[in-house]
Structures are given as C-alpha cells and as structure tokens.
Symmetry: C2
Subunit: 146 residues, 2 copies
DNA sequence: AGAATAAAAGACATCAAGGTCTTTAATGAG
DNA sequence: CTCATTAAAGACCTTGATGTCTTTTATTCT
C-alpha cells in the first residue's frame, strides 16, 4: 500500500527539478541527492531512466544537469509508477487466490475491484504538477530532508 | 497492491485445512503443499508461525498434522497480514513525501487516506471464514493448483 | 523400549530491490 | 585541443523475501 523507494526518489527528484527550474535552468545530481537526502548514485540511475522515458531533459558537461520539459508537469503519477517498474498486476487476485476473477469471484472480489479502480483512477488523474505547490513557501520541506 | 506470497500461502493453507477438516481431523503438510502447489518446507515455516499465533493447531507424530480451532474462521484477514509480516505503514505517506500528514497534507492526502481507510476496514471486517465457500463444489480450485 | 511418522528448527541457497564505486562519454571554457 | 565538469553506464555489494535441505523433537504404535 506504499510505493517503492525508487518511485519515491523519482517523484521527489522530478519535483525538485521542477521547483528549482523556476530559478535556474539546470540542477545537478549532486545537489538533488544532497537536498533530498537520497543516495547519489542510485538516484542517478533513476534520473537516467526518467530522461530515457521523456520525463526530464539532461545535459552532460559543465553547467549541465537536469531540467523539466513542456510535458513534465502533465505526466500522471501512474506513468511514474510504470517507469519505476511496478508490474501493476491488475487482474491478478490481491489475496493470491487462484482462479479468482470476474467469472469465479471470491467473496471479496467486487469490493476489492472497486477499491482498485478508485486507486487506479486517482493515480491516473493526478499529475506531477498537481503535487507542486509553488505558492506554499515551505513546500520544499515536503520533499527534502527529514 | 497485492499482498506477499507468504500471505497468500498462509491464507490458502488455512483455507485448505479448514476445508479438509470437514472430512478428517488432521491434514499433513505434505498433502497441503502438493494440493496447493506450494514449496513444502517454506510452507512449513508459515504454518509453524500460524500455530504459534494461535490461528491453527498442530500435532506431531503419526496421524499428526494441522487442524483449525474454534476461532480460526473468525480471524480477520488483517490479522493474517500482521502475522505474515507486512509492517502496515499506516501513517506514512504512500507517495513517500516527507512531512506529508494531516497537518501538512499533500494535495492527494485526503483522497489517499479515504482509500486507505476503506482497505483497512475491508480487511478488518472480512474473516477467514468468509472466504470459505463450502457450498461451492469446486471451491477447492480457487485455492489449489493452477 | 524401539521404530516409524510428522512437525519444528536451523543452516544454507537464490533472487530481486536497493545501494556503492569506478569507468566512460559528452560538453563547455579557455 | 585540452581540460574540467557532469551525466551515463557498468561492475559489484548488501539486504530482505523466498526457497531448499538436514537435523531435532514430539508422538503413536508395536
């Protein structure tokens, strides 16, 4: 019921980049890792994936770093979940019963499906930008260090 | 959004014991493991835990095996989840944002809390016995082999 | 008591997620 | 062109969930 660490790093990383992009064109991995208290090299892997998937832009070399693109803030959280690699086993029984499906539902099946659909729709309709409270002065604290 | 394999083994194991207890007083690990297509020794560990936690009764030696007790079918799924060791991090942000709580909620906070509470209450109110469809002739297939 | 049976217990093996360290490639400044 | 800088890539380590194998303990039957 809680997403992976990798997902958390990705989300917070993107939010940090978006936030600092208001002030400067690029942020470096070093700064992000320190500010978010996240293992630097591991974060590097996550960011690389985000770039490859078109969520962020990166530039190598001096004055390089990460920045957002036009679509970054419109990307739904569900996409981030896919990218950070939860197989999202929709369709398989939460309780790991075999042969539990719409044709042969277990007694909880309907209720579980309803809850799942609500999750899915919440995650699909919420976009990264929806979590970015630029107005809120200490928003950075929500994503930064303890 | 899907529980651990260990949880699945525990649930299916208990259901299998409850089901066969209608016919014979005890079932052996061997039979359960084969019928459920589950690794025998690993299942042994899970069953041992269930016995220690009072979910099942076990007897060693010839004609020994596992059986249910008076309360087994009244145990809520939430208890099985605790026993099979999900820390159930209620209270921590699903999105892994820091400092996201009722005082300083992220924009999704309320919706997520609502969904979580629904899950919690479903898992607390559904009892093991609720999943046991003795009336349904091929119920065994739901928990047994593929 | 002794043999057979079955769970309990404990020592390892495997695998994926998460994390660290080093090397390579790209880019801008002088 | 060369150098410093920074992301990308790859090799390896750690840890927890899962799985296997062997030994011990309790029980029943003869």
């Amino acid at each position: 019921m809680v997403f992976s660490k990798t997902f958390g790093y990705a989300l917070r990383g993107v939010l940090y980049v978006a936030l600092t992009n208001e002030v400067k064109p690029r942020v470096q991995l070093e700064e992000i890792a320190i500010q978010l208290s996240v293992p630097r090299h591991f974060l590097g892997k996550v960011m690389k994936k985000l770039v490859k998937e078109g969520v962020l832009i990166s530039i190598k070399g001096p004055y390089g770093g990460f920045s957002v693109n036009e679509t970054t803030l419109q990307i739904p959280l569900l996409r981030l979940i896919e990218i950070t690699g939860e197989p999202e086993e929709f369709g398989s029984c939460v309780l790991r019963l075999r042969k539990c499906n719409a044709q042969n539902p277990c007694p909880m099946h309907r209720q579980i499906e309803t809850l799942r659909r609500q999750w899915q729709s919440l995650l699909a309709s919420t976009k990264i930008g929806d979590l970015l409270r630029k107005d809120q002065p200490d928003f950075i604290k929500s994503i930064a260090t303890l």
